[in-house]
């Protein structure tokens, strides 16, 4: 019985054939329409379709940057400019001997990838607005350089675009080339989006702190995505130069950037189909409104404002009727600790987590003033004390958010690097947060799968092409996540968007995510806050079972009953120092603790 329950429907929405098709059906329809378009035999429509495909090739990559990673790259038109000039200048022979057009297109992809990374670099360190500003500044500079570098770009006069020879010669041949590349771009970005990399991107966007705690290395991941988005932008630029047949710097206005951006936003963040439709609509729309051409940028801008203010979720949210179905009203969380051995592994060698002489002050405030602590595997260690006594700060030191000025943290025989939160997951240190940090827009299952990020074997490139290792990773993560959800008692909510859950359920989702790491040390920051008495009792049983499976558990809590019920050891902090330490019975009768904290 346990087995069947743990193998509940794994794909969100994959319960019925219809549910599985509703995503694919739209793609099949879109693909057929694209393939059969030449039957209309209308070259004007063909031209618009080519432009839509080219725009989408760029937007598909940008969508990962904007819609998934949440980086506001408003000047991505610069990649189109770079790609267009690279292909055009190389084939025209402005730089050395003339290149073959197809080869020049490849060069565009490379140039785009390189500059994608360079432009993306600031996103790793800078605040959002700063990054938006640097992409904008870069777009301005590229145009200025194109104007000035006359020998290569032709300056303001411009340079002719290439003509691709057979089999993709001008007309429908070129259209199929664009369509094919657009399809490939869609396929690759969709692969990334549905992989652990895609989930990690959304985690960076919506719950960056939790992403780090799960071991997501933001710089590396973002670099990969900027590389891909830059390369796609470069390819789009190369095709664009052929479509335009003659390119000048005025062809690449900032308005185009706005168009790409709105296409993605109309579509909705965290979706591929939505932005694809959005881009197509925005490309086609002006063709039906010729008198408005002069006002088109104004209308785009107005549309952008409208979307941001009225439907921040975009088309994807409007289409997502599955998540508007009402949830069952009286839900119960029924954890099944008996599944823990299967989730965590049967035979585990526990490791001791120890803090030695930790000192940390913020300015003049000594948050931790010389703290020694040992958390043993197989035990629940309670950390209590009044507000401001340094409990959460201690947790943050262990999980690397704060670097202590003195002292060190060791797990087993290895010293943990201070102040590096994303390096805790490889040591199998997992944690939950005082206010649950979950990705509201992702399903519960996907949230939990984020916790297993570091257990994936496949590389970014393997996910891009859905090679076998990627598929194995996905199957494995999905199975483990379902098991973790069954363990905390939430498997029936696997497919539900996390922001529809109740507060108490989110606490258990966080525990499931933490268990995905098969933690050697699990730290829980006030897990019982906001739970009912019955839920606290079940939580206590679950925590105790986790510790008995060989995990060192550190529990920060205010519920004295829970602490004294399940803890093997308790440490009481006051003003960053240990006030008392010992078994629950000793603490309960400790005079100072009773007067300072517990009350008579």
């Amino acid at each position: 019985m346990t087995d069947t329950a743990a193998r509940m429907p794994a794909r969100p929405g994959g319960t019925s054939l219809l549910g599985r098709l509703e995503g694919k059906l739209s793609w099949i329809a879109l693909g057929l329409a694209g393939l059969l378009l030449p039957l209309l035999d209308d070259s004007y429509i063909g031209l618009i379709a080519q432009r839509a495909c080219i725009y989408w090739i760029l937007s598909a990559g940008l969508n990962l940057v904007v819609g998934y990673a949440g980086q506001i790259a408003i000047g991505w038109v610069s990649m189109l400019t770079l790609g267009a000039y690279t292909t055009a200048a190389l084939t025209a022979g402005n730089v050395g001997a003339p290149w073959h057009p197809y080869l020049a297109l490849v060069a565009s992809a490379v140039i785009g990838a390189v500059f994608g990374v360079i432009v993306g670099l600031p996103a790793l360190r800078l605040r959002t607005f700063y990054f938006a500003m640097t992409t904008l500044g870069f777009a301005t500079i590229v145009t200025q350089v194109a104007l000035a570098w006359k020998s290569v770009t032709g300056g303001g006069v411009g340079t002719p675009g290439p003509v691709f020879p057979w089999p993709f010669d001008p007309g429908w041949g070129f259209y199929y080339f664009c369509f094919l590349l657009a399809a490939v771009a869609t396929w690759m970005t969709a692969n990334i989006a549905s992989s652990r990399y895609g989930r990690a991107l959304i985690a960076i966007r919506d719950a960056e702190v939790a992403a780090e705690a799960s071991g997501v290395a933001k710089p590396r991941l973002l670099m990969m995505v900027f590389l891909l988005a830059g390369a796609l932008g470069g390819v789009a630029g190369g095709l664009f130069s052929s479509l335009q047949s003659y390119i000048t710097p005025d062809a690449f206005t900032f308005e185009m950037s706005v168009l790409f951006f709105i296409g993605i936003l109309i579509g909705g963040r965290g979706s591929i189909l939505g932005p694809a439709l959005g881009t197509i609509i925005l490309t086609v729309l002006p063709e039906f409104a010729a008198p408005l051409v002069q006002w088109s940028t104004f209308l785009y801008a107005a549309l952008l404002l409208l979307i941001v203010l009225v439907i921040p979720g975009g088309i994807a949210d409007l289409l997502d009727y599955r998540n508007r179905r009402p949830l069952e009203q009286h839900r119960e969380i029924a954890p099944r600790p008996e599944l823990l051995p299967r989730l965590l592994g049967e035979r585990r060698r526990g490791e001791l987590l120890s803090l030695k002489g930790i000192e940390l002050s913020f300015g003049g405030v000594r948050a931790i003033a010389g703290l020694d602590l040992e958390i043993r595997p197989g035990e629940v260690h309670g950390l209590i004390g009044p507000n401001g006594s340094g409990k959460t700060t201690t947790l943050n030191v262990i999980s690397g958010y704060y670097a202590p000025q003195k002292g060190e943290v060791t797990l087993g025989s290895s010293v943990l690097p201070p102040g590096a939160p994303h390096l805790r997951a490889p040591h199998r240190i997992a944690r939950t947060f005082q206010t649950p940090r979950v990705i509201g827009a992702a399903s519960v299952l996907e949230n939990v799968m984020v916790g297993g990020t570091i257990d994936g074997q496949g590389s970014f490139a393997e996910s891009l092409l859905t090679l076998p290792r990627h598929r194995r990773d996905e199957a494995h993560l999905r199975e483990a996540a379902m098991l973790a959800l069954a363990t905390v008692g939430l498997e029936s909510l696997a497919a539900v968007r996390a922001d529809r859950l109740q507060h108490s359920e989110l606490r258990f989702v966080e525990i499931a995510r933490a268990l995905m790491l098969r933690p050697a040390c699990l730290m829980l920051d006030e897990p019982a806050a906001g739970l009912s008495a019955e839920e606290i009792r079940r939580l206590g049983a679950l925590i105790k079972a986790v510790s008995r499976a060989g995990t060192a558990v550190l529990l920060v809590e205010h519920h004295a009953d829970l602490i004294f019920d399940i803890c093997d050891r308790v440490t009481v902090l006051n003003l960053g120092k240990i006030l008392a330490a010992g078994t629950p019975a000793e603490i309960r009768s400790h005079r100072e603790v009773v007067s300072a904290y517990l009350g008579a």
Binding site: G70, I72, I74, L121, P122, R125, L126, R127, T128, F129, Y130, A132, M133, T134, L136, G137, F138, T140, I141, Q144, V145, L147, A148, V209, F254, V258, F261, L265, Q294, W295, T297, F298, Y300, A301, A302, L304, L305, V308, L309, P312, T392, N396, Y401, F433
Partner: protein, 289 residues
């Protein structure tokens, strides 16, 4: 050459500094960077040219009108593009809403006023031969405007009750609200003030930068550089950063040519920010967990 680098550099630097202050005033009140800062600067020039050249209004009255328009646009910015997205500041929707609004205004200017750069009238009739005409007014006007703005802001923040209320909001808006300060109205007032400063920058700088719709994106970027370098919210940093940027840019202009000057400014901007993301003046990072 040195003289023209210094005079032009300081003048254009003063305009950048004022736009930087515009960013700062809006940021202090709402924790939001608004793309409308450059728009206000652009409109200062364009509206001034319309009022004086087309409608024949005298310069002093035109200045008042331009400042009033700036204040009005500041309030519209706050109501339309900032207030609705303030609840979810961490989603950064304000980047898009303010950008969209600024683009809309820019497009209206491009269509109704034209996409060419128009000359801006001489504001103060001075005999160039006299002692007062030794330095062209297009150079000292922005510097004077910058000095007046700084003095005015110092007075406002230090001596008046409303100025202290502004500071309270900037420091801790929750605590300020708990004290009973009308946060929304103070925010609107801040945006109006920012509108006045931005429009003043554009109006006094327009003899040099011309009345041109394209100034919006230029001022948006070059006005933001001093803020980023000087540390956000710091007006002193913005003024020092702005003047330094103006001088650096003009020196690069003369030494290596215009296009490479733009690349050089951009490169310095990126490198400094990558090395010191909090700006040269420095500021603590916020608590994350």
């Amino acid at each position: 050459m040195l003289q023209s680098i210094v005079s032009y550099g300081l003048a254009v630097g003063a305009v950048y500094a004022l736009i930087g202050i515009t960013y700062n005033v809006m940021f202090s009140a709402s924790r939001v960077f608004s793309f409308t800062a450059g728009m206000l600067g652009m409109l200062g020039g364009v509206l001034g040219a319309i009022f004086i050249n087309k409608w024949g209004i005298n310069a002093a009255l035109a200045l008042l009108l331009v400042l009033a328009c700036g204040a009005l646009l500041g309030i519209v910015t706050e109501v339309l593009t900032v207030r609705p997205v303030l609840k979810s500041v961490e989603q950064h929707l304000y980047v898009l809403s303010t950008l969209a609004f600024a683009l809309m205004i820019q497009q209206v200017v491009a269509i109704e006023f034209g996409t060419e750069a128009y000359p801006f009238p001489v504001l103060i009739p001075i005999d160039p031969a006299s002692i007062w005409g030794a330095i062209d007014q297009k150079f000292w006007l922005p510097v004077l405007a910058c000095a007046v703005t700084i003095a005015g802001l110092e007075f406002l923040y230090r001596k008046t009750l409303i100025g202290r209320a502004f500071l309270a909001i900037a420091e801790d808006s929750y605590a300020a609200r708990a004290l009973g300060l009308p946060e929304t109205r103070l925010r609107m007032a801040s945006y109006a003030l920012a509108g006045v400063i931005g429009a003043l920058a554009g109006f006094t700088g327009a003899q040099m930068l011309l009345a041109f719709f394209g100034n919006q994106s230029i001022l948006n970027f070059y006005g933001f550089v001093p803020v980023a370098l000087g540390g956000m919210g710091s007006n002193r940093g913005a003024v020092i950063g702005g003047l330094a940027l103006g001088l650096f840019q003009q020196a690069a202009n003369f030494l290596v040519g215009g296009i490479f000057a733009a690349v050089a400014v951009f490169a310095v901007f990126i490198v400094v920010l990558l090395l010191r993301p909090e700006g040269l003046a420095g500021a603590a990072t916020a608590r994350r967990v």
